[in-house]
């Protein structure tokens, strides 16, 4: 009962703050801008992307459709969503310390573990809302503006999916993307527990993501040993849902690694926050 009350209150606090809506507005504006730009000049982009292929293949039908636009948007935005997650989640504990409101809340009967868990659940729900908004806006608006059709995906091979074989791939890709954003949320939440101001966790989260992304992508032998342990190695695995033969074993392993990151980071957060002296 207490847990439900505190979680509802944490959600209320998140959605009472103007900064929460900056993230939604950012997603809305970026997606509208991309879709408008493609609407105006998209055929050139598609021609450019497929110019080498046109020598060997004959393309017909509506290739510049809502699904193709959504796939482009997903590729473009997955690096930006973590910033929007960190913007709100990084403030959840550090913001209370900064404002001095912990002096009220933590002198009430609630335990620190309950409060911390409620805040984290609220953070996950907020992250989910971002991903759902991203999905709805990119897919629904894309299909509305550009119509539907087959999806061309250029990975190691050219994958062409028929219209009735696409939606479930997007749903699973968004679900996996949410798992990735939960790791970002857990990291940001952990840094938020360490700090008494909100800027530190936001910058810290982005710095760690950028550093880990470099370590994951640079083909240098020294990084080969750490690469399997970095969440950034697995965070783009959502693209595997757009393979002909989906490697579920690889996706399951990646999901488990991401899940392990969430559990470990959240456990550290609980441990640290539970013994932290509130001096603010």
């Amino acid at each position: 009962m207490t847990f439900i009350l505190t979680t509802k209150t944490e959600l209320y606090k998140i959605f009472s703050r103007p900064r929460t809506y900056i993230a939604y507005a950012a997603i809305l504006i970026i997606i509208l801008a991309i879709q408008f730009a493609i609407y105006a000049d998209g055929q050139k982009l598609l021609d450019f992307t497929t110019q080498n292929l046109r020598e060997s293949f004959d393309f017909s039908g509506n290739l510049l459709n809502g699904y193709f636009i959504s796939y482009l948007i997903l590729n473009a935005l997955w690096v930006h969503i973590p910033l929007l997650v960190a913007l709100v989640v990084g403030d959840l504990l550090a913001g209370e310390a900064n404002m001095g409101t912990f002096r009220f809340i933590l002198t009430k009967p609630v335990s620190r573990i309950t409060l911390c868990t409620s805040k984290f659940i609220a953070a996950i729900l907020y992250s989910a809302s971002l991903i759902i908004l991203l999905g709805i806006l990119s897919l629904a608006l894309g299909v509305l503006l550009f119509g539907s059709g087959d999806l061309i995906v250029l990975r190691d091979t050219i994958n062409i999916f028929s219209e009735d074989d696409i939606l479930w791939r997007f749903i699973l890709a968004f679900a996996y993307g949410l798992l990735g954003m939960c790791v970002v949320a857990a990291l940001s939440f952990f840094l938020s527990a360490l700090s008494d101001n909100s800027i530190g966790p936001i910058i810290g989260t982005m710095t760690i993501i950028i550093a880990c992304t470099i370590f994951s992508s640079l083909d240098v032998s020294i990084f080969h040993y750490v690469r399997p342990f970095l969440f950034t190695t697995y965070i783009t695995e959502w693209r595997s849902f757009f393979d002909y033969q989906i490697d579920y074993q690889k996706i399951t392993k990646a999901s488990l690694v991401l899940l392990a990151h969430i559990v470990i980071l959240f456990s550290f957060t609980i441990y640290y926050f539970n013994k932290k002296d509130i001096l603010s």
């Binding site: 009350l5 209150t9 404002m99 001095g100 002096r103 933590l106 009967p109």
Partner: protein, 302 residues
């Protein structure tokens, strides 16, 4: 006052790095007390209060509240306590009602809207409850801070410098409210302050701490009115006055030629005797200013 110990603190220690902030502190608060917790800035008052409400973990020592060990029974104890630690800070983007609701719900306490309006009225914020807290003055925030402490109708209040930031009228109103909470509503109150006169006006018992350690504890009236005073005489002839006063007291006498002031430690009944003696020896006495010994000691700390 009651004979039940509401707060019992024993051998409390807390260090930050190499600095000992609270040093072997022990005291107890009885049911029905307004217990003054007095000390200069930096004496360790807020750290002690933060340990009493589990915001800070002590290095060692025992804290028992309403007869229960704080470490083992924190949720139950917190249900009986209303707490205001240092300056009150709120969610600036919410109004007073939403702040009270959010703070209590975040802390796992569900309160009715009616109770929120009751406490808002009790602290004199009626008419301002729908304004966002970012528009509030420091005094209004202080009142709202007290309102959140009263929300769940606790039997024990721990108030850290509740008059901070208030104007003289606000200080008086806060004082009257605290006394009324004790006398009318029967609440036990632990009141921290760095102002002796504030404690004197409200508390029945008090503890003075300095550098984290207990200096003196006891009944406020008895401690402050032991009948021993440091008395400043503003006189026309300081040297002659010193010689005369040394006939009636063995305590050290200090003089200040620049201000024509002589200071002696005298008992209550020695003050008129000293005055008569000076006048009889043709020394003009321009002013007599008695300062209670404990008051003077406390002022020397601050």
């Amino acid at each position: 006052m009651g004979d039940q110990q509401i707060i019992e603190v024993s051998k409390l220690y807390k260090t930050f790095g190499r600095t000992t902030v609270v040093n072997n502190l022990s005291f107890h608060v009885m049911q029905g007390d307004i217990y003054g917790f007095l000390g200069p800035n930096g004496a360790g008052k807020s750290t002690t209060l933060r340990m009493l409400v589990s915001l800070i973990k002590p290095d060692s020592g025992d804290i028992s509240i309403i007869g229960k060990d704080l470490h083992k029974n924190r949720p139950e104890i917190m249900r009986s306590c209303g707490i205001l630690i240092e300056r009150p800070d709120f969610y600036k983007y919410l109004n007073a009602i939403d702040n009270l609701k959010v703070i209590s719900n975040s802390g796992g306490v569900c309160v009715s809207r009616r109770r929120i309006h009751e406490v808002i009225e009790m602290v004199g914020l009626t008419g301002h409850e729908h304004k966002k807290v970012k528009t509030y003055s420091q005094g209004m925030k202080q009142r709202l801070g007290l309102a959140q402490a009263l929300l769940h109708n606790p039997a024990l209040l721990l108030l850290d410098e509740p008059s901070n930031g208030l104007d003289p009228q606000g200080i008086r109103e806060m004082r009257e409210l605290i006394i009324s909470l004790n006398k009318v509503h029967g609440k036990t109150i632990l009141l921290s302050s760095h102002l002796l006169y504030e404690i004197e006006l409200m508390a029945n018992r008090m503890l003075i701490i300095n550098k984290g350690a207990s200096v003196v504890e006891g009944d406020v009236f008895e401690l402050l009115n032991q009948g021993i005073y440091r008395v400043n005489f503003n006189v026309s002839d300081v040297i002659k006055a010193k010689e005369l006063l040394s006939r009636i007291t063995n305590e050290p006498i200090t003089t200040d030629q620049a201000t024509q002031t002589i200071t002696a430690t005298l008992s209550n009944h020695q003050i008129p005797v000293a005055n008569q003696l000076l006048v009889e020896h043709q020394i003009d006495v321009h002013a007599i200013k008695p300062l209670r010994a404990l008051e003077e000691y406390f002022l020397s700390l601050t």
